[in-house]
């Protein structure tokens, strides 16, 4: 940290702070909008100019999680004995659909959200684990044609993945991977693994091999040395790589839309599909999106200390 500052530096600092504030406004505005819309009554969601002050409601969330049908013109409902969350729906001119046994029917959202979690977490774990081990191999052992292999691995990212969507779809259909968790996990792992290899190679190259060699001489096997010495040293890199992979898998839209429709569908293709059911209700979409943002936000927040170091890609040590 510079403790002695000149006038020029102070001015520079102010400009920098100003830019950061500007950037924050640009980045946070959509999120603020989503967050606000998620709590708005339906009739205020699309006003022009936007409504900024309103009494927040939880109705969008109730609607998000339940399956509803429009009330028929003269339909009789037992408004008095309905619980508070059901009344909210009734107030909106809809009723929550129930099974024959009277159980509330959930919307597709919870299961889509769970699918997203399963697919993103599993594929992130696989991509990071495979990437780390591969990077370790490239970093520590003599690999014939190392540069060519690394280029080849990177080349898998040189075209937009959607380009291969149709052949992938046909292949998946042939082997029965359509609309399965496994199918999406394989796809996302494949996207991410090349990226993970490259990122992790940079981090592992930074770890002096003397540490492992000392462990080898001290009576440990290569594997033990890897787990005891290399992994803890690479934690920062692993955290950074995991966040990137998780975000990619979590937000992926195109393949999820093409390859899944029910059982394994993730949240991204599901949320917009809600626009079409009945009249567009933007508050429900906003609440679904707001919840969808949370896991990435939490994950990133938990790893923020590692990330700050990791984002510099090893440039700042210790």
């Amino acid at each position: 940290m510079a403790t002695v500052t000149s006038y020029g530096q102070r001015l520079g600092n102010r400009v920098a702070v100003g830019m950061i504030i500007l950037a924050l406004i640009v980045f946070l505005a959509p999120i603020a909008w989503i967050g606000a819309t998620a709590f708005k009554p339906r009739n205020l969601a699309t006003t022009v100019p936007p409504t900024i002050f309103f009494a927040p409601e939880v109705s969008p969330f109730v609607k998000l999680f339940t399956k509803r049908v429009q009330l028929k013109p003269n339909e009789k409902v037992d408004y008095e004995s309905a619980p508070w969350w059901e009344r909210i729906v009734l107030d909106g001119g809809e009723r929550i659909s129930r099974t024959g046994r009277g159980e509330v029917q959930l919307s597709g959202y919870p299961s889509r959200f769970l699918n997203s979690l399963i697919v993103a977490i599993t594929s992130t774990f696989l991509a990071v684990a495979m990437g780390t081990i591969t990077a370790y191999g490239f970093s520590r052992f003599k690999v014939k044609g190392e540069a060519d292999w690394l280029f080849f691995i990177l080349s898998t990212r040189m075209l937009p993945p959607v380009v291969v969507a149709i052949p992938m779809f046909l292949m998946y259909r042939a082997v029965g991977l359509n609309d399965t968790h496994l199918g999406l996990i394989i796809l996302y792992t494949a996207f991410n693994v090349s990226f993970a290899v490259w990122l992790m190679k940079g981090f592992i190259d930074e770890i002096p091999r003397e540490y492992e060699e000392a462990a080898l001489v001290d009576g440990y096997t290569r594997m033990e040395a890897f787990f005891k010495i290399v992994l803890p040293e690479a934690a920062t890199g692993i955290a950074a790589t995991a966040v990137f992979c998780f975000i990619t898998a979590w937000n992926e839209y195109a393949f999820a839309l093409i390859m899944t429709n029910r059982r394994a569908q993730t949240a991204p293709p599901f949320i917009p599909s809600q626009v079409g059911s009945g009249l567009p209700d933007w508050t429900v979409i906003a609440s679904g999106t707001a919840l969808f943002l949370l896991p990435v936000a939490i994950f990133t927040f938990l790893l923020r200390n590692h990330l700050l170091r990791g984002m510099s890609f090893g440039a700042i040590r210790k």
Binding site: P208, E210, Y211, E213, A214, A215, L216, V217, D218, G219, Y220, T221, E224, I229, P232, E233, K318
Partner: protein
């Protein structure tokens, strides 16, 4: 404890020969110093013995066992590295425990505690045990890494310039400590350094390595008195030996640059053509009655002695004289040498062809 043998060991990295036909036989319990300039292949030699590299050709034996196919863990050697010698993130105590916790050693917690305590006491690092290693000074780190070697009671200690990061005073103290430690443990030490003072003071025997070739093996005294060639002569000894190219004419040494003559007692039979005369600075005398005139080029004070650089024409010679003699730069002096101390090297090959008696 153990004997280490290297039989015509060579190591080639892609197309660069780092070691060429190295032969070494280090006796059980010996303190052997490998001395050489940077890039000579010292670290490579240690890594080969430790099992971190495989020799391209040749055989390595520890205690008679051919260990070429053994992994580092099996060889039971301890390695103190030039740098990055400690595990980060661990405390000093955990660093010392680390080798004992390996599955192959299977030490009980009581035994681990006892050995760590012993090592800490021996190296006087008990007060550091609970510190993180990144909070240690260079000297403390070196001690801890030596400690990590001695907790194991290995057959062989391999040390790669363990004192190079220390200040002069601490280095001197550690030299005696290490030597002491080796005597107490009775272990075989292979100590690598580029500092010839370390080699001279610590080694029972030493080997001089240059460009991957072992130039000479012997006791420090032997090598100092009778260097095999002009490289060894120039590398061992401080201040460095004077190497003066010339030839012998009617029983006198004629030094070519400056063309001055000095007396000789004997001349080796092989000294027919060009000869390089080697004379140690302590065997040059600066006295008023000496045969040759020179100008004092430079004076370096080393405390008990001073190293005087003399200029004769374009030739520079180093002489060490007691500190109390007053000598000024650019002063005219007379000097001579002890003819019985001259070492003769072949002018072409640099090989030692004899010394005066």
């Amino acid at each position: 404890m153990a004997r280490i043998e290297l039989e015509t060991v060579s190591k080639t990295f892609s197309d660069h020969a780092a070691l060429k036909d190295l032969c070494l036989d280090i006796a059980d319990g010996e303190f052997f110093v490998l001395l050489g300039p940077t890039g000579a292949g010292k670290t490579t030699t240690l890594r080969l013995i430790a099992g971190l590299e495989e020799p391209t050709t040749g055989q390595i034996r520890i205690n008679g066992d051919a260990v070429n196919d053994w992994g580092p863990a099996q060889r039971d050697v301890a390695l103190v590295l030039q740098q990055y010698s400690l595990y980060p993130r661990l405390t000093v105590r955990d660093n010392l425990r680390f080798p004992l916790r390996s599955k192959i050693r299977n030490a009980s917690p009581a035994e681990i505690a006892e050995r760590v305590a012993y090592a800490a006491k021996t190296l006087r690092i008990e007060h550091l045990l609970d510190r993180k290693t990144d909070r240690l000074s260079g000297g403390e780190m070196q001690r801890v890494s030596i400690g990590r070697a001695i907790v194991r009671k290995p057959q062989v200690f391999l040390m790669d310039e363990p004192l190079s990061n220390l200040d002069a005073k601490l280095r001197e103290a550690m030299r005696t400590e290490l030597k002491d430690l080796q005597m107490r443990l009775g272990a075989t030490f292979l100590f690598v350094t580029h500092d010839q003072v370390e080699a001279m003071t610590m080694g029972d025997r030493m080997g001089v390595l240059n460009h991957g070739k072992l130039e000479q093996i012997g006791t420090p005294h032997d090598i100092y008195r009778n260097p095999r060639n002009d490289f060894v002569a120039g590398f061992v000894g401080s201040p460095a030996i004077n190497l003066l190219p010339g030839h012998i004419e009617s029983g006198r040494a004629v030094v070519t640059p400056g063309s001055f003559e000095l007396p000789l007692t004997t001349a080796p039979a092989k000294a027919t053509g060009g000869v390089t005369f080697g004379i140690r600075p302590e065997d040059l005398q600066i006295t008023s009655g000496a045969p040759l005139a020179a100008v004092v080029h430079d004076v370096e004070n080393h405390g008990t002695e001073q190293v005087v650089t003399l200029r004769v024409g374009t030739t520079h010679l180093r002489a060490s004289v007691p500190a109390h003699i007053g000598i000024k730069v650019e002063e005219q002096v007379r000097f001579g040498w002890s003819p019985d101390k001259v070492i003769f090297f072949d002018g072409e090959t640099g090989v030692n062809i004899g010394r005066a008696v």
